[in-house]
Symmetry: C2
DNA sequence: CTGTACATGTAAGTAGTTACATGATTGG
DNA sequence: CCAATCATGTAACTACTTACATGTACAG
């Protein structure tokens, strides 16, 4: 949380909180299904991040007493948290420290950003992958070594990069074709459909 | 390094040492090109792992004094290191803690193992990805939420998994078709072609 | 005369892990 | 009766990162 920018983990938690008020337990459960593919921190990690966000003024806590179940703490974004989330989503990193996963992770939360932001992340992802592709293609390859498996593994990388580039093209087209719609509110007092805390 | 098995990082360093005697500096440089796609530890990390391997009897050091350049330490596998590397390569983890990257990482070093080992890793990778595929397909998907981007990101995951499965098929075929060849010796006293320390 | 390659290492810090502790309720 | 779900948190540890310290030699 250096400056006004947040780390990947903090950004992801802010993003999840944008869907509505949640407990640490809720977040851990939701992370398994959904972004689990991209980012699955342990429960204890989430319990460490949440108070940090509150201390930084990005989230607010509310203690809820329950009879049948243990008491819990519900967290929601503060106004400043919403701004920081937007800034994090809008920031397109050219060479993210956390690797390529940064791009799909931010895209996951782009319902809380503008269409331009989503397209900018996709464009950044494309540039990133094209640089990788060039590097892989520049590697010595078969010629030099008697070893065979390194080449197979390189093919694995090339396959993944190429199929991801194809996905980017499709997704850009889908985003551009989608009916223009206001971005989702970050659930301040928006109509609730299903209930956040009940189950 | 609990028991006789090694961690991912230790396995990878053992694997790199199987290509020949190397200094920490060499390993860091080589890791950038080649396995860099799968595993790129910092120099300081490598300098920490190497003495650990020596302490565990898996590698041997040799100090080399140089005039023009700083002195250096060259590491090579010990007999026990070779056995542990083989065991690591042969072990097919069903749900590796370090994620899917374990499979291509071990495959990278399969020139030092039998063809059966390579095919076993590929088969394990396939099972792993097919479980992922089922999970992704079981996810609620479009219906539930007004959010659109989570679905796009899910497509990203599906695309990657499917293209990797296709690569596995191709690679299995290539491995089976390859002319049977003895596995590479782990460069004990094998003929050297190019020189390890000179450049 | 500046930057890069060679070469090793320490120090301080972040991110993340597993295992432990506690304790009620519900479903099979 | 046993296991899972709900709920939060601490402690100890591993992996890994950046920045710093040190110093030579060669290329542009």
């Amino acid at each position: 949380m250096r400056g006004s920018t947040v780390s990947t983990t903090e950004g992801a938690v802010l993003g999840l909180l944008a869907f509505g008020e949640r407990s640490g337990y809720d977040l851990a459960r939701e992370a398994e299904t959904g972004i689990g593919y991209l980012w699955t921190p342990s429960r204890s990690q989430i319990y460490k991040v949440l108070p940090r966000l509150v201390a930084a003024g990005l989230a607010e806590v509310r203690e809820v007493e329950q009879d049948a179940r243990p008491d819990k703490a519900l967290y929601k974004l503060s106004a400043r948290g919403r701004r920081v989330l937007s800034a994090w989503l809008e920031e397109v990193e050219e060479e993210p420290a956390s690797g390529r996963v940064t791009f799909p992770l931010k895209l996951f939360f782009c319902d809380f950003a503008s269409r331009e932001t989503a397209l900018a992340q996709l464009a950044g992802y494309r540039r990133f992958l094209e640089r990788r592709l060039e590097e892989y293609e520049r590697l010595p390859g078969a010629a030099r070594s008697p070893a065979r498996y390194p080449d197979h593994v390189l093919q694995h990388g090339l396959t993944r990069v190429r199929s991801t580039l194809a996905w980017i093209d499709e997704t850009v087209a889908a985003v551009e074709a989608a009916s223009p719609r206001t971005k989702l509110t970050t659930r301040r007092s928006a109509a609730r459909r299903g209930g956040t805390s009940s189950r």
